[in-house]
């Protein structure tokens, strides 16, 4: 009887939350690139507060990965060193552009619009880098585990790779109007999402026919469901609710865990053999449980604040207080 590897499950759950948040940002970033003026009122009120939380979840995932897979750090640094540095440069570009966009007042050649679009572009490129790494981890395409090297040419040479990235992008484009309740594109969401799922299925089949097992049905159905429910005016508000969509997105990503467990790199590495052991396992559980409770409370506070903003008028300007003495010095 196989037992559950909770180290893997917890790490993958954190990864799922990070990736779900990141994908909602990515969808918004794409809309900002394609139709800035029309997308702005829908996209920015979501992205502007959440991007900092996404970054925090990214760091959370990195640390849980370090914790759970100490024996994988040297191989990962060797395999994806170059790709990781590109990712870092893009992270700096993403954070810098949105931080400056939030507060820029100058209306010159660099303005709010250009900076938000630069953020969208950086986020899109991060998405591509993440997808390249993920597909390599799933399929082993371009990866030489014996020499611990990764070849981008080898990755591209695998027929499934391009389809994998394309399918993910098409799904993101298909679901973006659902998440942002972008009515003008309502009719396109279902066919585009369905095409994305089909492309993804093709990619997985090309990687290894075993990937296209019954397990694939769960993420496939969960991906199509929001697009389907968005078609009806009665169910569209439910599925466009940010929290509901985020939970579904986390479930979709989590249900893909079968692609990397029990083996990653298409059978190249057995996950159970590289997870941490000994007293560190207990420490991981204790900290994860305590952390989950703590982060849950913080997220509850965050959601309370969001709810409050929807039903409470902003604080009125304080009555002009008597000015304190203005003498420059006591």
């Amino acid at each position: 009887m196989s037992t559950i590897n909770w180290l893997f499950e917890i790490n993958f759950a954190v990864f799922s939350i990070f990736l779900a948040l990141f994908l909602t940002e990515l969808m918004g970033g794409v809309l900002l690139l394609l139709a800035y003026d029309r997308a702005k009122p829908k996209v920015l009120p979501y992205i502007v507060p959440i991007w900092e939380v996404t970054g925090t979840f990214a760091a959370f995932w990195v640390v849980t990965s370090d914790f759970a897979y100490p024996n994988m750090l040297i191989p990962v640094a060797s395999l994806f060193g170059g790709l990781i540095v590109v990712f870092l440069i893009l992270i700096v570009a993403r954070n810098a552009s949105i931080s400056f966009a939030e507060l820029i007042t100058k209306r010159g050649w660099v303005d709010e619009r250009k900076l938000y679009q630069a953020y969208g572009l950086a986020t899109l490129l991060i998405g591509v880098v993440v997808l390249v790494a993920l597909s390599a981890i799933v399929s082993g395409a371009g990866v030489d585990l014996s020499n611990l090297s990764f070849s981008l040419g080898g990755w591209i040479g695998n027929a499934g790779s391009a389809l994998y990235v394309l399918g993910a992008v098409v799904i993101a484009v298909g679901l973006a109007p659902v998440f942002y309740a972008f009515e003008p594109l309502r009719r396109l969401t279902l066919p585009v999402t369905a095409v994305g799922v089909l492309i993804e299925a093709g990619a997985l089949y090309l990687y290894a026919s075993s990937f296209l097992s019954a397990s694939f049905l769960i993420p496939a159905v969960l991906t199509l469901l929001p697009a389907l429910l968005f078609q009806s005016p009665r169910t569209a508000p439910i599925v466009s609710h940010k929290l509901v969509f985020a939970v579904v997105a986390v479930a979709i990503i989590f249900s893909l865990s079968y692609l990397v467990y029990p083996t990653a790199f298409n059978g190249g590495i057995t996950v159970d053999s590289v997870t941490t052991s000994g007293p560190m396992v207990g420490a991981f559980y204790i900290l994860s449980i305590a952390g989950a409770v703590f982060i849950g409370l913080l997220m509850a506070l965050y959601l309370t604040a969001v709810q409050r903003s929807m039903r409470t008028p902003a604080s009125p300007s304080p009555s002009p207080a008597p000015a304190a003495p203005t003498s420059p010095n006591p």
């Binding site: 702005k40 507060p49 900092e52 939380v53 970054g55 925090t56 760091a59 959370f60 990195v62 640390v63 370090d66 914790f67 100490p70 024996n71 750090l73 040297i74 990962v76 640094a77 060797s78 060193g81 170059g82 990781i84 540095v85 870092l88 440069i89 992270i91 700096v92 954070n95 810098a96 949105i98 931080s99 966009a101 507060l103 820029i104 007042t105 709010e112 941490t276 007293p279 560190m280 420490a283 952390g291 703590f294 982060i295 913080l298 506070l301 604040a305 969001v306 409050r308 903003s309 409470t312 604080s315 009125p316 300007s317 304080p318 207080a321 000015a323 304190a324 203005t326 420059p328 006591p330």
Partner: protein, 451 residues
């Protein structure tokens, strides 16, 4: 001439962290200042404190955004550049510290988001101030936890070191021991004093400059009030910095004796040794130093302190740490004298804020404080060389030596060279992006953010 990859890795990480701590110091300073002015605003209902809080929040959002990116860069660089080190970290309780660090980061992030973007929906005089408290706790806790990691690198514990050195196997792991190494308390105390001091001084220097530059009476009042807070906080912090620094010295000669000997340029061990100010080693003789008889004895409580001759010269760290340490101490003393002189004039009602040369002095000492912090960090890190984990793992053993990282690493360096000064410039701009009348009028319908 080719540079060994390990040296490039070392330089890249040092450059990244050296830049990162500038942003972090200012972030911590801003968080403390925002908390202080929100409290004063709630207590006094003085509109200038409210306006000051609204102005300080804008640069804080920028520093947080860039600081977060920089933090992620460092976290990932550690894995990428020094995978051997991170493997050891991940097999011992040090990774638990990083894990807790993430929760501190969440605390800071979520309360920052609530305070900045939704704070106007929370009514009550003290509610907004209460929202800022966890931000301060989160930022300080992040700093404390990172320093705990550094303390472990200086005085490692929590696993069987002798077995590791003999076999490379990590055994006898105590997942919680690295939270408290022999140097943790001392390092944490010192960093909790010096890093906020740097951030507060940066803000104070800006206020002092703007106070003299501005001709608008309301703006001058605002800067004056801000300047008084920064002077008061800096005074407390500079005293704590000196106290914690002296305690650090005591801890160093006990637990990192070679680093201590190099910092003090002690050739031979002994008691009541003179303090060597600057100078260098010529063979086995110290030359060119200004010697202060007995001072080292007083600072070390007349203990028997170590000397370089007790160790093979191949183990010595770069002796430049003697100069970085002395420069740090001399500049730190000058900073303390300046702050006490400034405060003395304030107490004597001699109007230090109005004196132009003192305003410029404040700006100069802002740079000095930053330099002192960087020199302190350099002394600590260079003093541990060639070890990344003292007496356990060298930097060479830890490094990836992956030559693929050279050109992307150069891009990261170039990005920081542009980004850090630009970020500081941008923060200064957004601080005053709205007219003083607008900021004094109180919160608007929306936030100050473009969306």
């Amino acid at each position: 001439m080719s540079i060994p990859m390990v040296d490039f890795d070392r330089f890249l990480f040092a450059f990244t962290i050296g830049s990162h701590i500038l942003l972090v110091s200012l972030s911590i300073g801003l968080a403390i200042m925002i908390c202080a002015v929100e409290f004063l605003s709630a207590r006094s209902k003085d509109k200038y404190y409210g306006a000051l809080a609204r102005r300080l929040v804008r640069p804080f959002v920028v520093s947080f955004g860039i600081g977060t990116a920089s933090g992620i860069v460092m976290a990932v660089e550690l894995v990428n550049l020094f995978p051997g080190f991170m493997t050891l970290v991940s097999k011992t309780g040090v990774i638990s510290i990083f894990y807790v660090e993430i929760f501190a980061f969440f605390l800071e992030t979520v309360f920052l988001v609530v305070y900045v973007y939704y704070g106007r929906f929370f009514h009550g005089r003290y509610t907004r101030w209460l929202l800022t408290l966890p931000i301060v706790i989160g930022t300080l806790l992040s700093a404390v936890l990172i320093v705990m990691v550094n303390a472990w690198m200086n005085t490692p514990n929590g696993f069987d070191i002798s077995t590791y050195l003999a076999t490379g196997a990590v055994t006898g792991v105590d997942p919680w021991a690295p939270f408290l190494t022999p140097s943790t308390g001392y390092e944490v105390f010192h960093v909790l004093a010096t890093v906020p001091l740097t951030g507060i001084m940066m803000i104070g220097g800006f206020f002092a400059y703007r106070y003299h530059k501005s001709s608008h009476p309301d703006e001058r009042t605002l800067f004056l009030k801000g300047l008084r807070i920064t002077v008061a906080l800096s005074l407390v912090l500079v005293v704590l910095s000196v106290l914690s620094g002296i305690l650090q010295i005591e801890n160093l000669y006990q637990y990192q004796p070679l680093k201590y000997a190099a910092m003090e340029l002690n050739v031979n061990p002994g008691t009541n040794l003179p303090e060597n100010l600057f100078g260098w080693l010529n063979g086995t003789t110290v030359v060119g130093a200004i010697q202060i008889p007995g001072l080292q004895g007083i600072l070390s409580n007349h203990a028997n302190v170590p000397g370089l001759s007790q160790y093979p010269s191949s183990d010595w760290p770069p002796l430049i740490i003697h100069d970085t340490f002395d420069t740090m101490v001399v500049l730190g003393v000058l900073l303390g004298l300046f702050l006490f002189g400034y405060a003395g004039l304030w107490v004597l009602k001699r109007r230090p804020f109005d004196r132009r040369f003192l305003a410029w002095g404040f700006v100069v000492f802002t740079v000095v404080t930053t330099l002192v912090m960087e020199l302190g960090w350099m002394t600590d890190e260079l003093g541990r060389q060639p070890w990344i984990v003292y007496n356990v793992m060298t930097v060479s053993q830890a490094a990836s030596n992956n030559s693929d990282l050279f050109y992307p690493g150069l891009v990261i360096i170039a990005a920081y060279i542009f980004l850090v000064p630009f970020t500081f410039w941008f923060m200064a701009r957004v601080f005053r992006s709205k007219a003083i009348e607008v900021d004094l009028a109180g919160p608007s319908e929306g936030t100050d953010v473009n969306y």
